[in-house]
């Protein structure tokens, strides 16, 4: 049993990291989105492995289903000007990479030396979708309302921003 967990964790782990790294290093933007979908799927697998089934499937629905498609639309709508000879990274990429590596170093050192990461695995919690729905409707009702309002405002705002402002000009 532990060996299987370790192996599947390793596979999902490699899938996620390779997908994320490819998404941010490839030159072709459509390939980037495909690699991003791979990373999102790996993350959903990690969520499923952590017994958070609802979050895992919500991840697939929201990210693979909606966000990735939205990014593809944005890429196809803004295509045509990027020249292949140009560099894909900004001039200050060395400094930025050093900053990112330093952030990872600090995080990894903290995780390794922290006592909080030494917990043994507790028994598998019984979490059903019904429980999540009950909690959303009772204890977390106010945050749910706020997130609904936020999503409505964000979608109306997105449509307003992306709309052609002056019809006669174009």
């Amino acid at each position: 049993m532990p060996d299987e967990v370790t192996l599947s964790f390793f596979i999902l782990d490699v899938l996620t990291i390779v997908g994320a790294a490819a998404a941010l290093t490839l030159r072709n933007l459509v390939h980037c989105v495909l690699a991003l979908v791979l990373a999102f799927l790996g993350l959903a697998g990690l969520f499923l492995q952590l017994d958070a089934q609802f979050i895992g499937f919500a991840q697939i629905l929201v990210y693979v289903g909606a966000v990735a498609i939205l990014v593809v639309f944005a890429i196809l709508l803004t295509r045509g000007t990027e020249s292949t000879s140009q560099s894909i990274v900004s001039p200050s990429w060395i400094v930025s990479s050093v900053i990112a590596a330093a952030v990872f170093g600090v995080l990894a050192w903290t995780i390794q030396s922290s006592m909080a990461s030494q917990h043994p695995l507790p028994p598998q919690p019984e979490v059903t979708v019904k429980q999540i729905g009950d909690a959303l409707m009772s204890r977390f009702a106010l945050p749910l309302e706020v997130i609904g309002l936020l999503l409505t405002a964000a979608l109306i705002g997105a449509v307003t921003i992306a709309m052609q402002e002056k019809q006669g000009e174009k």
């Binding site: 933007l29 929201v62 990210y63 995080l107 990461s117 917990h119 979490v127 992306a162």
Partner: protein, 103 residues
């Protein structure tokens, strides 16, 4: 190495990759993708700490992840709308060529 530390390390690596992408790439859409990856790394932390915490029946980690996914979706929609709007104006999505705020 304990399983929790494994998940936290993956999450830290994912966050750093997202940060590096958001800081180095010139295309605005890829910067947005980097930010999405960082948000996802935070979600992985929420779920890992929920699973290895003392009171998983309280569902706080799951709830936080649900709301975080909602906020990330709203952010992606508004961000991509802004990028499309900027592209109409400047005919480019390269961030170093978008250097004036005057319309």
């Amino acid at each position: 190495m304990t399983p929790l530390a494994n998940y936290l390390l993956v999450s830290a690596l994912l966050f750093s990759i997202g940060l590096a992408g958001a800081l180095t790439r010139r295309n605005a859409i890829l910067v947005l993708i980097g930010i999405e990856l960082m948000l996802n790394a935070a979600n992985l932390n929420f779920i890992a700490f929920w699973r290895y915490g003392q009171h998983p029946e309280a569902l706080t980690g799951i709830m936080f992840a649900i709301f975080s996914i909602g906020v990330a979706a709203a952010e992606a929609a508004v961000g991509l709308a802004l990028i499309i709007s900027i592209y109409r104006h400047y005919k480019t999505t390269n961030l170093d060529q978008i250097d004036v705020m005057r319309g």
